[in-house]
Subunit: 255 residues, 2 copies
């Protein structure tokens, strides 16, 4: 968020499109949340059912924030063609003529024993989860448009994690089946379409080195949003396993 | 943040002023961050110098956010007398005719070996810290005014923690002296004045049970903001000690 604040990029030549793309992809190689120990435990079948449930319950808050984030972004876009492209993201999550991604996510939380009312109230989620995802919603309101678009580019790194997750979770957990994993299967085709558009947009619209660096920082910011969610889950439910006041505890009634 | 969402308070009688105050104070007894293991370690002299440094570096972000939070609040206040009262909070942190609280905080980070430029850039702070404190800034913009005021009421619980911190840290750490602890000494007199005003305001202006419950939830929210910061510090620098990418690491050069 302020990582490049100390460098003045104004008189530095812009990166070539290829180097700019490489700088964006390098952020994923270093910081995308597939590197987090919690994901390694999740995909490796090392978590118990309660820990997977905590992940699904909290991650719902991220899913639920994404279409609000996209609406907040669209509220600033005067270019109708860009809005016509971007609105697909809201359809993907909320559903238009068919079931959307949030509904598919709730199939997962159903399988883990939560009522939809409890999940959708978000009252059992970790405060840190909500702080992180709302920071993402605010980011696309407050940053220049091209930087806001760049913050979506973690999707460049998503198909690999989804493939790994689908195979790892199906193999490891008896409460997970193809139906439950439908969300991730669908994202395998949706995420690349979105990220290709966003990458081309960013490459075309970030013209100065300062704008390019702000876009790279936006991808770092978004990686931080994802990483902080896993840190909070890991602290609360794995090691040291200290659940903050008010958050879901395994065994809680009325969930 | 949504903890009372499932109850309809519209036809419930308001609490008496005393019961309302008791409900607010009960939040502190249950959730204020003096109950967090990190504070117990800090005040008990159980942290090493690097861990105390991480705390001071991150907590700077909270200190730095407070006057912005107060300015955001004042931007919505049409009552000039309320603004004339509230502006003292900005003076306390930024300083007016004398040194302010942020400057005193930097005396602490000086003593722990950080340059002021590094601290003020916030680039070594944990992302989770920034997400939490910015959630607080947003809260006072988005919530009804009386609820925004209520979110400041954690100050009711602050003098006890500051007294404990001053004695515990002076006793335990050789890098801490009276000069370094000036911030907390000053807050011993500032916080009660502010919290008395805010408590009276909330008791006078939250008239319905729904408004009262929203104020109690605001104190919970603010406790969550404080607790999440300590969770993140504990996870990164104590147990399990997993520092997220980009955050300060003990031994880093150029800090």
């Amino acid at each position: 968020m302020n990582e490049i604040a100390s460098i003045d990029w104004r008189n530095v030549a812009p990166l070539s499109p290829d180097d700019f793309e490489a700088a964006i992809r390098a952020v994923g190689a270093e910081r995308y949340h597939d590197k987090h120990v919690f994901h390694q435990l999740l995909h490796g079948g090392k978590l118990n059912r309660d820990q997977v449930a905590a992940w699904a319950l909290n991650r719902y808050c991220y899913q639920e924030a994404v279409p609000r984030k996209d609406a907040a972004f669209m509220s600033r876009v005067h270019d109708r063609e860009l809005r016509r492209e971007w609105i697909h993201r809201i359809h993907d999550h909320d559903g238009l003529d068919e079931t959307g991604g949030i509904e598919r996510w709730l199939v997962l939380t159903d399988a883990l024993g939560f009522s939809r009312g409890y999940v959708q109230s978000r009252r059992g989620a970790l405060p840190a989860t909500k702080f992180a995802v709302e920071a993402y919603v605010r980011f696309v309101v407050e940053q220049p448009l091209v930087v806001a678009v760049a913050s979506s580019l973690t999707e460049l790194f998503a198909p690999a994690i989804h493939r790994e997750r689908i195979s790892g979770m199906l193999e490891s957990y008896d409460f997970v089946d193809d139906h439950v994993m439908a969300y991730f299967k669908r994202r395998l085709s949706q995420a690349p379409r979105d990220s290709e558009f966003a990458l081309a947009y960013v490459k075309n619209n970030a013209r100065t080195r300062a704008e390019q660096e702000a876009c790279v920082a936006a991808v770092q910011f978004k990686c931080n949003v994802l990483w902080a969610q896993l840190d909070a889950l890991h602290h609360a439910y794995v090691t040291p396993g200290l659940i903050p006041p008010g958050a879901w505890r395994p065994g809680d009634a009325n969930v």
